[in-house]
């Protein structure tokens, strides 16, 4: 379709970044780590336990072992 070209361009860019050691990560339902994630807000949830990333607003990026940009996430808090 029409927007398939945009997706392809994006994936091509991501491949180039991967070639240079830059990887995207989406920490959905992982344990919150302040070194990797940036908590934008917190909210209550019945299914997930507290201290776990419930929503990812912006995916994070890593270059090698270092964090290039932390992911912006919403963390689940205690009731």
């Amino acid at each position: 379709m029409n927007f398939l070209g945009i997706g392809m361009t994006k994936s091509g860019l991501m491949n180039i970044l991967k070639k240079h050691g830059i990887v995207e990560y989406i920490p959905l339902k992982e344990k919150f780590d302040p070194n990797k994630h940036e908590a934008v807000f917190d909210y209550e949830d019945e299914e997930l336990s507290p201290g776990i990333v419930g929503q990812v607003l912006q995916s994070g990026f890593k270059i090698g072992d270092r964090v290039l940009r932390p992911a912006k996430v919403g963390v689940i808090k205690k009731k």
């Binding site: 361009t9 994006k10 970044l17 830059i22 270059i63 290039l68």
Partner: protein, 221 residues
């Protein structure tokens, strides 16, 4: 640089040490040889005389003993008369031996002094060599430490170079990430729209326009 310098230093030091040890050892050997010769000569000159002295002393004792033994069965007065004579001979012998012993003791003392001096010199040389050894050990330790440090620095720099190679594009990639975000935004904004329906709607619209145009005698070329 450090390596070359320290190698030269160690070479110089070893050469110096060997020279010193050679000189010292040769001088010591010659001195010891001389001393040994002197001692042997001294022994040769002394031994016969000392033997004669000892023989004389022993003879005197034995003679007195034999006399005593012979006199025992005889009267006691004769004994008393003999005794002072014996004592006299003994004292004479003793005097002779003392003179000879004094002469020999002088020679011995001179040799002893020489030996003492030699010993002193030997001890001094040993001390000097020990101090040199200590210095050499210290220098070697310092050199080894330097080598280790340089190796560590080399490893560290290699690691840093590798890291800088890997992370050189950090700033640039941070800027590029914004382009990635824009792509994401574009895709998200397009996600809710149904293009098929849109296209159909467009077709219907164009058809309507076409029909309206026909009404007014308009044609599309």
């Amino acid at each position: 640089m450090m390596k070359k310098f320290s190698q030269e230093l160690t070479k110089k030091y070893t050469n110096l040490n060997q020279k010193l040890i050679k000189n010292f050892s040769t001088s010591l050997v010659t001195k010891i040889n001389r001393n040994i010769k002197g001692v042997s000569q001294f022994n040769h000159t002394i031994n016969p005389s000392s033997v004669s002295i000892y023989s004389k002393i022993s003879r005197g004792f034995f003679s007195s003993d034999s006399k005593n033994n012979k006199e025992k069965p005889e009267e006691e007065e004769a004994k008393k008369a003999n005794k002072p004579e014996e004592e006299k001979t003994k004292t004479e012998d003793k005097k002779k031996t003392d003179k000879k012993l004094e002469e020999s003791s002088d020679e011995e003392q001179s040799t002893k002094d020489q030996l003492k001096e030699l010993k002193k010199m030997y001890d001094d040389q040993i001390k000097a060599s020990e101090t040199l050894k200590k210095k050499f050990e210290d220098l070697r330790k310092a050199y080894l430490e330097n080598v280790q440090e340089t190796e560590q620095i080399k490893v560290r720099y290699d690691r840093e170079i590798a890291l800088t190679k890997d992370y050189a594009i950090t700033k640039f990639s941070k800027d590029i990430l914004e382009v990635c975000d824009n792509f994401d935004r574009a895709l998200n904004s397009l996600n809710g729209i149904e293009f098929d329906k849109l296209a159909e709607q467009e077709k219907v619209d164009t058809h309507k326009v076409f029909l309206e145009g026909k009404k007014h005698n308009l044609t599309i070329k």
